[in-house]
Amino acid sequence: MDSTLPAVAEELLKEIKKAFKETSHGTDTFSFRLKFIFGPCAVPALDLVDQRSVTRVTSPSGRTAYQVLGSSGKLYTCYSSCHFCTCPAFGFTVLQKSESLLCKHILAVYLSQAMGACQELTVSEEQLTNILLADEEDEG
């Protein structure tokens, strides 16, 4: 059977994006849904959005990655082509235990996109490669 949760999550995020484009005062509805679907990540992810912690890093070829400044001050990298984050919570909760679809950083990336709160950074190809490779080395 096809998975349900990703479709629900995607629809929710699309709604949030739509709500942010128009003037809307009923923002509590999506808050409740966010909490229901994403559980304990929701509040920390919103906090990261409030603090404008998400940066979309682009290179001239069009490759993108996301960098999120975590609450501890550490910078985590999230991929744009699949759900992946370099934070330990992702490795544990998502990969190992499959208890969550995302970690708070990936959710913050989506929310920042939906709300237009992403910072933008353009770097060279080499720099972007380094960002991605550096994380690989850490993992290894």
């Binding site: 349900t4 929710l12 919103l46 409030d50 603090q51 979309r56 699949c82 910072q119």
Partner: protein, 653 residues
């Protein structure tokens, strides 16, 4: 968590919800019956279950009525009944312990989500759910359930299933994201407002609502309509400009970097300080005051800089207090628009949001063409006599006065443009009084009060009438601080409660020196010379261009003088002579009165006076016993032991 941010908001809502859920469950258990409120209850029968992450997904059939009345045989899948996907949170699922064929009652508030490409609606936020067992087989079923452990299939979601937030329609839309580019913000004129996209969005009239519904991620489109009560400049920390201009080094560099600010009020009476773009100098403030004060303005895309309270921002709140209570009734939040609160009993505000604009476009549209709002309170102008009689501390006051003399604070450690300036002012209410009230009052201008170059230049040249808007009165002193604006012209609108704003007729008179004279004031002195302090008598040449008193000998030509500030030889220096004279005054007979007297002479007499001074043959004898006419003096110090007053002769503007 960020104050006012989305996360904080969700936390609050969550806490409320959590207590609601546990209360509801507790009620169900203690009542031992199904809650009777049937409206909005969703009744479903579980067909199939599986797990995704920690959410339990149940494919269900929606039932018309509770099958408690039906026998188990009748509970057959009816092809016509709608299928739903019901999601249960981990905690709810653990509480329900449901299995296929179970019937669940889902109480509101539950939420329904329709996915774009799927037929099956999704039900979520199902916290308030109850399992309902068919009455007949309840006991046997329970036992069976208790024994067999149910295994639920878990779907592992692939990491490749990312979410796409863009729709086909979205691709045409430029995705908004904050750029790091800083553009010079422009304030839109009224003529653009019709074409501007902002004009199409809904306009709100509550600042608090705008602040609370947006959090720290500033919204671009929501607009608030407010009244501009005051326009002023606040000094910024980025830099204090230090330009030394021409012949007047004293006042020249007050050109601090400053930021244009508005104090606005909404229809509910709430205030907010809006910080706009930085200005190079305060020169345009007078214009903005004239064009904008009292008008309506639409704010959009504001970012909350700070929420400040009375205790932390005394200056701001003294200004707010001067505008309280509102002159027209204000709306009360939560009540219908017809009932408006009487303003007399409203307590003054205790907090205020400081807003600033997002980098990039400014969304402050002032409707200059429209009429002045009824809510606007123009500055209340009083005569100085009234102000001196006011009770209270930290009261804002406005007045129109003539500046007679100006003195710069002499602390050498403070740069010139940050020094306090003392202005000695008077108006007709003081001049026309006979006694008990001083004729001239000192107004201290702190470094935080931003002055335009127009004012500083005008003040150093000649006596000016200046409008002091929102100065502070307290502890017997008038001071100009942040948010005080000095203008050369009276504003278009002001309320003059019986104040006499006519120009002064006749020459200005100063108080004569007497027993009540205090330090840091100006007065007129007359008396007889009883002594000359020869040790302090000296003269020195000054540059005729810039007034520099520290001339040097020219390196090339030892006979000439050189001014390092002008970087030129001084051809005709101005000689300044200083002499301290002791006077005996009949108005203050007990005190020794020491007057520092200055005399400026041109080069022509320089040689002659020099000779006379060195000979010391004439001045003491010829000066003793001489009557000195009314000298205008600045009182430097007054001491009681010894009883001495030190004065300095001054020239009024």
């Amino acid at each position: 968590l960020c104050r006012g941010g989305l996360a904080e908001r969700l936390c609050r809502l969550q806490n409320r919800e959590r207590s609601a859920i546990s209360f509801w469950r507790h009620q169900c258990i203690s009542d031992a019956k199904i809650p009777s409120d049937k409206s909005g209850v969703l009744i479903v029968k579980i067909l199939e279950m599986f797990e995704e992450c920690t959410i339990q997904v149940a494919i269900c059939q929606q039932l018309e009525q509770s099958p408690a009345t039906l026998s188990s045989k009748d509970a057959v899948i009816n092809a016509g009944e709608p299928i739903l996907k019901v999601l249960f949170a981990r905690e709810t699922a653990a509480h329900l312990k449901s299995r296929p064929q179970d019937v669940i009652h889902i109480y509101p508030p539950w939420q329904k989500l329709i996915l774009r490409n799927a037929d099956v609606p999704v039900i979520m936020n199902t916290y308030f759910s109850l399992k309902v067992l068919p009455s007949e087989h309840s006991e046997t079923r329970e036992k069976t359930y208790g024994l067999t452990k149910m295994l639920i299939r878990k779907n592992i979601i692939s990491l490749a299933e990312t979410f796409r937030l863009d729709d086909v329609d979205d691709e045409l839309h430029h995705q908004t994201s904050d750029h790091q580019v800083t553009c010079a913000p422009q304030i839109h004129n009224n003529c653009d407002s019709k074409k501007h996209p902002l004009a199409q969005s809904a306009v709100n009239d509550s600042l608090l609502e705008m602040v609370e519904s947006q959090g720290a991620v500033g919204w671009r489109e929501a607009q608030v309509r407010v009244v501009i009560q005051r326009v002023y400049c606040l000094p910024t920390r980025e830099g204090y400009g230090s330009r030394v201009q021409g012949n007047k080094p004293l006042l020249s560099n007050r050109g601090m970097f400053c930021r244009l600010c508005l104090l606005v009020q909404d229809a509910y009476g709430m205030f907010s300080e809006v910080q706009l773009q930085p200005l190079n100098s305060a020169d345009d403030v007078e214009q903005y005051c004239r064009r904008w004060e009292g008008k309506f303005c639409c704010l959009a895309g504001m970012k909350i800089l700070q929420r400040t309270t009375r205790g932390r921002a005394l200056g701001l709140f003294s200004l707010i207090d001067s505008l309280w209570p509102p002159v027209v009734p204000v709306k009360v939040p939560g009540q219908s628009q017809d009932s408006e609160m009487m303003t007399t009993n409203l307590a003054p505000p205790s907090f205020c949001y400081i807003l600033t604009v997002q980098s990039g476009e400014i969304h402050v549209e002032v409707d200059e063409e429209e009429q002045i709002s009824n809510l606007y309170q123009p500055p209340a102008v009083h005569g100085l006599k009234e102000i001196l009689r006011m009770d209270g501390c930290n009261e804002r006051c406005s007045f129109w006065a003539q500046v007679l003399y100006l003195r710069l604070q002499t602390k050498q450690s403070v740069p010139i443009n940050q020094r306090e300036i003392c202005l000695f002012v008077t108006d007709s209410t003081l001049q026309n009084m006979v006694h008990m009230i001083p004729k001239v009052v000192a107004v201290s201008v702190a470094a935080s009060c931003v002055l335009s170059t127009e004012i500083t230049e005008a003040l150093s040249v000649t006596s000016q009438f200046v409008f002091f808007k929102d100065a502070l009165w307290g502890k017997g002193m008038i001071i100009c601080v942040e948010r005080t604006v000095l203008l050369l012209q009276k504003p278009l609108l002001y309320s003059a409660a019986g104040a006499d704003l006519s120009e002064l007729t006749g020459p200005v008179r100063l108080d004569e020196l007497d027993s009540t004279t205090q330090a840091n004031s100006i007065c007129a002195v007359r008396g007889t010379v009883v002594g000359v302090n020869e040790s302090t008598a000296f003269s020195w040449p000054t540059c005729d261009r810039c007034g520099n008193g520290k001339l040097e000998l020219c390196p090339q030509d030892r006979g000439s003088l050189y001014c390092s500030q002008c970087s030129e030889v001084v051809i005709s220096p101005v000689l300044k002579m200083q002499l301290e004279v002791f006077l005996s005054c009949s108005s203050r007979p007990q005190s020794t009165i020491k007057v520092k007297v200055w005399h400026e002479m041109s080069f022509g007499l320089f040689v002659l006076i020099n000779m006379l001074l060195s000979l010391q043959s004439y001045e003491v004898q010829s000066v003793l016993g001489k009557e000195v006419g009314l000298l205008n003096c600045y009182v430097r110090s007054v001491t009681s032991h010894p009883n001495c007053i030190a004065l300095e002769e001054i020239v009024l503007l």
